[in-house]
């Protein structure tokens, strides 16, 4: 017996190419984010930074990657081999999965087809991102536990409790935004912000943005929230037993997370692919898409820079300060923000 599967091959190919481009782009940007981070750190500390490999050290990320690939791979004797390998793989997977719902730009007209620059415009886009973010903690937990090392386990526990705590405030701050937009689709949210006479969502939700931004920083495990890898308390954190490219995956996932969080923040609060002061409807579709993509990435890079700026400026929180900020500060603020937003919407109705 043979079954015929009807598949729209052009659609399939189009999405496949889009996925390949987006994933390659995330990897390349994450790679050069490591370079940017070292250069910015150097600048802030009055150093020069990497400058040996290639002009201005531009080949440094490649050299680092090569080094990690050629390092000896060590798997501890008493750890669970399968889970030990699955840990970094999960961290990488969850970091990459989020990019599926982000609208990278408007439609492109190619070969007589109109191709939206978004892998999937699902009507629960924000919840999807939220789900993937909440799964991100498994990479840390499984890796930390499978290492069979007490420091790794402690770090993994810290990471898990941190992510769970900050997810709450993040979710509540999003509810206020969603009450304004009335839609969970990221594409619709961007289109609303592009309308004439409508400002970016940051103008309506400044407090919500601040809470979301702080929580995003905590979810990425970036300083000042890098408690899971606090090197002076926990040796190296949850990836202490890792070597070679498995360690590379953990470090890399952090940079991809940073890139994707910046993209989400820009989409939700800063107009996505909306170029300010330009009316996109007057341009040809391809030109508008190009302008949109450039604007989107420019905004993302600004946010990646802010992430790094904060990392090299602020010292790390103490653990109790972290929990106090999350549970007694941000959640209360987010709740107040939600109530006020709801009251204003109700008043204006």
């Amino acid at each position: 017996m043979m079954f015929l599967l009807t598949i729209d091959w052009a659609f399939f190919l189009e999405k496949l190419i889009l996925i390949a481009i987006v994933i390659t782009l995330s990897l390349v940007i994450a790679m050069y984010a490591t370079y940017a981070e070292r250069k910015i750190a150097a600048f802030m500390q009055d150093r020069i930074g990497p400058n040996r490999a290639g002009p201005f050290g531009i080949l440094q990320p490649l050299a680092d990657g090569m080094k990690l690939f050629f390092k000896e791979e060590i798997i501890p004797n008493h750890s669970n081999r399968f889970l030990f390998i699955m840990g970094p793989a999960l961290a990488m997977l969850t970091a990459m999965m989020t990019c599926a719902v982000i609208p990278w730009g408007n439609k492109v007209e190619l070969f007589g087809r109109s191709i939206p620059l978004q892998i999937a415009d699902i009507n629960i886009g924000i919840l999807y991102i939220f789900a993937v973010v909440s799964l991100g903690v498994y990479g840390i937990m499984i890796g930390g536990w499978a290492s069979n090392n007490k420091f790794s386990l402690l770090a993994a526990m810290r990471g898990a409790s941190q992510v769970i705590s900050y997810e709450l405030a993040m979710g509540i701050s999003l509810i206020a935004l969603l009450m304004l937009t009335g839609s969970l689709s990221l594409k619709t949210i961007v289109e609303q912000q592009m309308q004439a006479g409508h400002f970016w969502n940051i103008a309506y939700q400044p407090l919500g943005f601040l809470i979301f931004f702080i929580c995003a920083m905590a979810e990425c495990n970036r300083a000042p929230f890098d408690l899971p890898e606090a090197e002076n308390e926990l040796n190296m954190g949850y990836h202490q037993e890792y070597s070679s490219m498995k360690l590379g995956f953990y470090l890399f996932a952090e940079y991809i997370n940073m890139f994707i969080s910046s993209a989400v923040i820009v989409t939700l609060f800063f107009g996505g692919y909306d170029m300010p002061f330009v009316n996109e409807t007057l341009l040809t579709p391809n030109m508008a898409a190009l302008v949109g993509v450039i604007a989107f990435f420019a905004k993302i890079f600004i946010f990646i820079f802010i992430f790094m700026w904060i990392r090299w400026t602020l010292p790390r929180f103490r653990y109790d300060q972290l929990m106090n900020l999350g549970w007694k500060g941000l959640i209360l603020l987010a709740l107040a923000n939600m109530l006020i937003t709801a009251a204003i919407i109700l008043y204006r109705m």
């Binding site: 079954f3 789900a131 799964l135 769970i164």
Partner: protein, 168 residues
């Protein structure tokens, strides 16, 4: 046989296989990991029924939060070294019988229930699981049960805090 049918059978097989793995693993941490796969398979079923909201909330709440807490506790307590309790053969025997009886009751009630008779599942085109429709139904038709259950949750949360505070 179209793609939907293939996906349905795949997800069902995955859900059943992982569920069996959950109860046969010696190490509770592996049980939890298999249970997460069960939740993913069930979310896939929700997606087939076009209930996207339910699917993603199932992932957020169960896989993303509750299972993390389970893992948290299991990893901290390190249950591997604990002796296995309750090895009595008669206990196992009784457990199998009562479990089997419960299964019989569940199957017979769901087979004979009036809601189930002569109804087919709406694949891909039902829209009650979409977030707009679900929200409207919850806040109009089922507003009272919804509020009561949320108060129940709130009291459980307050109770947990009170119990947790007693120690110090």
């Amino acid at each position: 046989m179209d793609i939907t049918t293939i996906v349905f059978w795949f997800l069902s097989a995955l859900a059943l296989f992982s569920a069996i793995m959950v109860i046969t693993r010696k190490n509770p941490i592996f049980s939890v990991l298999w249970l997460i796969i069960v939740f993913f398979a069930i979310s896939g079923h929700y997606l087939l029924l076009n209930a996207q909201f339910l699917a993603v909330v199932n992932i957020i709440v169960y896989a993303g939060a509750i299972m993390v807490l389970f893992l948290f506790v299991l990893m901290m307590m390190n249950l591997e070294n604990l002796p296995v309790v309750n090895k009595n053969i008669w206990m196992k025997f009784l457990g199998v019988i009562s479990g089997g009886l419960l299964l019989c009751i569940l199957v017979s009630t769901s087979k004979s229930a009036a809601d189930m008779n002569l109804k087919t599942i709406i694949m891909k085109e039902g829209n009650i699981g979409l977030i707009e429709n679900l929200g409207k139904v919850l806040f109009t038709k089922y507003a009272l049960p919804f509020e009561i259950s949320s108060i129940l949750f709130l009291s459980a949360m307050v109770g947990a805090v009170v119990i947790g505070k007693k120690e110090s």
